[in-house]
């Protein structure tokens, strides 16, 4: 069964700090996400959503329990394995985090360069094609400072998806955008993910975009609840 799942979280606990100051933030998390599924995780601030996302993304090492991402167990993985695991994921952040000294296309190419398997002209070609897909084909040589918030976030999506990752992790990608740009951004994300068949785990507070999800999970006080009713009652 787990072969169809790209993310399997089993009895995961996580704490910050040590000794008397130790504070558990995640309790017995169980979550299985199928390949190609779009899952939105919602819940109040401080409930542990982002922590779970960083664990799945390999930005922190998981402490106890089991965490399998595209078949690789990353609980107790070495720093080196974590770095490699990160390359399988595409990230989209609340802030676009584009490099201000690089043009849109150079930023997107950074998503390919990390794999070290493509020559520069090929990276350039793929990045240009990706920017075309997010509707920025005419602005590939713009610097981030000359793009609007929505356009920047679209470049960030292009950067995350250009290497065709199995998993896309997004943390409040629409938080800094107005309604229209936010809608455009998630639609692009949704369409491209469906084309590439990748799994999306999206953390958000934004109720306007919940409709793109195949499934909504709700987190509160470090515990996960899968009931959509609960998720909806929270709205």
């Amino acid at each position: 069964m787990s072969t169809n799942h790209s993310i399997v979280v089993h009895q995961l606990n996580h704490s910050f700090g040590a000794g008397n100051l130790q504070k558990q933030v995640l309790f017995d998390i169980n979550l299985a996400i199928s390949a190609g599924e779009i899952v939105i995780m919602t819940g109040p601030s401080g409930s542990g959503k982002t922590t779970l996302l960083t664990l799945i993304g390999g930005l922190r090492s998981a402490q106890t329990g089991s965490l399998k991402v595209v078949g690789h167990e990353i609980t107790g993985a070495s720093e080196n394995d974590l770095v490699k695991a990160r390359r399988n994921n595409g990230y989209i952040f609340q802030a676009h985090n584009l490099h201000g000294s690089l043009t849109a296309i150079e930023n997107v190419q950074m998503g390919l360069e990390v794999h070290g398997n493509l020559a520069k002209p090929e990276r350039h070609r793929q990045a240009a094609a990706m920017l075309e897909k997010v509707g920025l084909g005419d602005r590939i040589h713009y610097y981030p400072a000359d793009l609007s918030g929505g356009q920047k976030q679209r470049v960030a999506i292009a950067r995350a998806l250009v290497s065709r990752p199995k998993i896309v992790l997004a943390d409040e990608p629409t938080a800094a955008l107005d309604k229209k740009s936010g809608r455009d951004v998630v639609d692009i994300m949704h369409d491209l993910a469906k084309q590439q068949g990748c799994t999306i785990l999206l953390v958000t507070h934004d109720n306007r975009i919940l409709d793109i999800a195949d499934r909504i999970v709700y987190m509160e006080d470090g515990r996960l609840s899968k009931q959509p009713e609960l998720a909806e009652s929270a709205q």
Binding site: T50, L53, T54, G57, L59, R60, V83, K84, R86, R87, Y91, F93, A95, N97, L98, H99, G100, S101, L102, E106, Q109, M110, G111, E113, V114, G116, A119, K120, R159, D171
Partner: protein
């Protein structure tokens, strides 16, 4: 070898992030370049002065035309040679292989600049006019002239304004001035250069020297010049002379005597230390400025760097960016530093008559120092990279 080619290929294929970051913030780039240029000029000037000091204080020792040199055991340097008795030279002539042993008299005189009548301190050298003492063709061609009483040859690279006087001498006009109570005539010109202790030098005959120094005796010699038979073994005769002559003199080869002078400047005078310290200060100024620029640069890109790490870039990739910036800054700062230093050398040489030149070895030394300077600053600045933790930016 294959690994190197692969590395170079990877380097050529990578996005030149350091270059792009530097180019993006022109003001920061200019600040860094100005800082490095300034530091390099400072180091160049200090090294140049130190070298000029060594050179200018050994110019006459270097120009001596002799196989062996005899000086007093108490001699400190060319300016303070003390004297020894002329008998040692006669004794030296007794040693097999020695062809001649000639005395050289040195002393500092106050002379009046014929152009503006100002008193300056000049080194006065008295030599035997029948035999060349220096490897200076201008002097050796005029040896007959200085046989005449109170005739001197003038070092036209002396510090001070002598341009009119030099022209007059070149036109063949008679130029006279005063040394002490005597009137002397400038009978010819040669060129060596000023030193820190004397503004210039005059060469004359031993007889004229004794006329200008009435209290000096002909028997009190400053330096002895020994010439050997062509087939004589230099070291063997030197050892024999040293053994034969009493302990109040020492016998050195000409090269050994130049080393003796250099050694004295390096150890006895604080000047080597002072200029070394000056260079070190320039280096530290450079490190501080480059560190400021690089660490500000790292700080203002922490978010982006953390994103790169979240995407799967290694810490070494980020280190590479800082190293790249350090190398670019080194080169961009060094080139104007070198050009300006060359100009400053010429200006200083013209103003002070010090022999300032830019040997390739010094340029390479300073370029290396610049790389070390930027590398060190970069290494300190990369400690800030630890703060680029991707777990914190989500």
């Amino acid at each position: 070898m294959l690994g190197l080619i692969k590395t170079l290929k990877t380097l050529g294929d990578r996005t030149p992030l350091g270059l792009k970051q530097l180019k993006h913030d022109r003001l920061r780039l200019l600040t860094a370049i100005a800082g490095i240029t300034f530091a390099d000029i400072l180091i160049f000037m200090q090294l140049g002065f130190a070298d000029a000091l060594y050179k200018s204080n050994t110019q006459y020792p270097r120009a001596l035309q002799a196989d062996l040199v005899i000086i007093s055991t108490q001699a400190k340097n060319f300016g303070q040679l003390r004297t020894f008795t002329r008998r040692r030279l006669w004794q030296a002539q007794d040693v097999p292989g020695v062809v001649s042993a000639e005395p050289l008299y040195l002393g500092s005189v106050q002379w009046r600049n014929p152009q503006n009548r100002q008193q300056t301190s000049m080194l006065l050298i008295g030599q035997n006019p029948s035999q060349p003492a220096f490897d200076l063709p201008d002097v050796n061609a005029k040896l007959d002239t200085i046989r005449l009483p109170d005739h001197v040859l003038f070092d036209q690279a002396s510090r001070g304004s002598y341009d009119e006087m030099i022209e007059q001498v070149n036109r063949g006009e008679r130029v006279t001035t005063e040394i002490g109570l005597r009137t002397v005539e400038v009978a010819g010109l040669f060129e060596v250069g000023a030193s820190f202790s004397d503004d210039g030098a005059l060469i004359t005959s031993d007889q004229n020297f004794l006329r200008l120094f009435p209290k000096r005796e002909a028997g009190a010699v400053s330096l002895g010049l020994i010439n050997l038979e062509p087939e004589a073994d230099l070291e063997q005769v030197r050892a024999e002379l040293a053994a034969r002559l009493p302990d109040d003199v020492q016998v050195l080869t000409q090269a050994g005597y130049v080393d003796f002078e250099l050694n004295d400047i390096q150890s006895a005078s604080p000047i080597g230390f002072v200029f070394g310290l000056g260079s070190a200060m320039g280096f530290i100024v450079g490190v501080v400025i480059v560190y400021q620029v690089l660490s500000t640069d790292v700080n203002s890109h922490l978010g982006e760097y953390a994103t790169f790490r979240a995407m799967g870039y290694r810490n070494s990739y980020l280190l590479g960016i800082v190293v790249e910036e350090a190398i670019i800054l080194s080169v961009l700062g060094f080139v104007p530093g070198l050009v300006i230093a060359l100009g400053a050398y010429q200006l200083t040489a013209a103003a002070t008559a010090l022999p300032l030149a830019m040997p390739t070895s010094r340029a390479i030394t300073v370029l290396t120092l610049t790389f070390v300077m930027c590398g060190a600053s970069g290494a300190i600045a990369t400690r800030r990279l630890q703060a680029a933790d991707p777990a914190d930016i989500f």
